[in-house]
Amino acid sequence: MEFAHILFLAFAALAVVAAFNVILQRNPIYSAIGLIVVLCSLATLFLTLNAQFISAMQIIVYAGAIMVLFVFVIMLLNVRSEEARTDKQKYLKFLAAPLFLALLAEVIAVVRYVNLTPQPLPSANNAGDPSTVLGTVENIAHGMFTNYVIPFEAASVLILMAIVGSMLLARREKPEEIARIEKALTRQQEEEISKEEVAA
């Protein structure tokens, strides 16, 4: 077994365990920590696939910016652990088993019958122009600003719309809403105090 296999298996196992942690935790802050572990181990796997720039972006944008936003909102809303899960749709279980078997068959078919041998890469030393080496910043920039410049501009328009939209949605407008939130918070605190009294 080569070093690359051990690296892959270690980080794949870490990602799967952390993904289970994301979906099984009741408290969203622990889910967020699990998701950060998944993102970091996927960034390592991207490195093994010659995607250095995307790997750095994964850490900076996903683990750095998006997850900080998540954790910030969780702390802002002061979410407590969730109560027992409601199990209203019991028929979903009978749907889940055939779908799982279909997906499993698909994965096995891809692994066994599709030829997935990657083409060898030129080594970075004798490749000459860095924009021809897969995954370098030059290579990505060359693709993004020539063939794919329209999706790039569309993404910037999308982000502008998201900024305006989220400011509009999260704006606090009326004083009575502030009063309602404060009422809810004091009710929460009173419930906690009464729970402590019961426990005592």
Binding site: H5, F8, A12, A15, V16, A19, F20, V22, I23, R26, P28, L35, L39, L42, F46, T48, L49, A51, I54, M57, V61, Y62, I66, F70, V73, L76, L77, V79, E82, R85, T86, K88, A96, E106, V107, V110, V111, V114, L116, T117, P118, L134, G135, I140, G143, M144, Y148, A155, L158, I159, A162, I163, G165, S166, M167, L169, A170, R172, R180, I181
Partner: protein
């Protein structure tokens, strides 16, 4: 060299875990994190195929997906904040005003 089918199998496993999370979680923030998990599973597939063909297009797709995920997180968390402001809950089962 690790076979690329391993990466695709890991991607399928992570995507399935994300789908299961969307089905079993009731907290709207945790649902959002499960969606991010599914986006990342697809990103892994795209990068594996980009390596298979030695073509940078898959990595550019991942870049665009990251931009979309950032926009989605910003708007979605703003929706969650206004939901919490109006309903004082984060349980998706209680946000059923549009349900017939």
């Amino acid at each position: 060299m690790v076979p690329l089918s391993w990466y695709l199998a890991l991607s399928a496993v992570l995507f399935t875990i994300g789908v299961v999370g969307v089905l079993i979680q009731r907290n709207v923030i945790a649902l959002f994190m499960c969606i991010e998990l599914m986006l990342n599973a697809v990103n892994l597939s795209l990068i594996a195929f980009s390596r298979l063909h030695n073509d940078v297009t898959g990595q550019l797709f991942v870049f665009i997906v990251m931009a979309v995920a950032a926009a989605e997180a910003a708007v979605g968390l703003a929706i969650i904040i206004s939901l919490f402001r109006n309903r004082e809950t984060l349980n998706v089962d209680e946000a059923d005003l549009l349900k017939l």
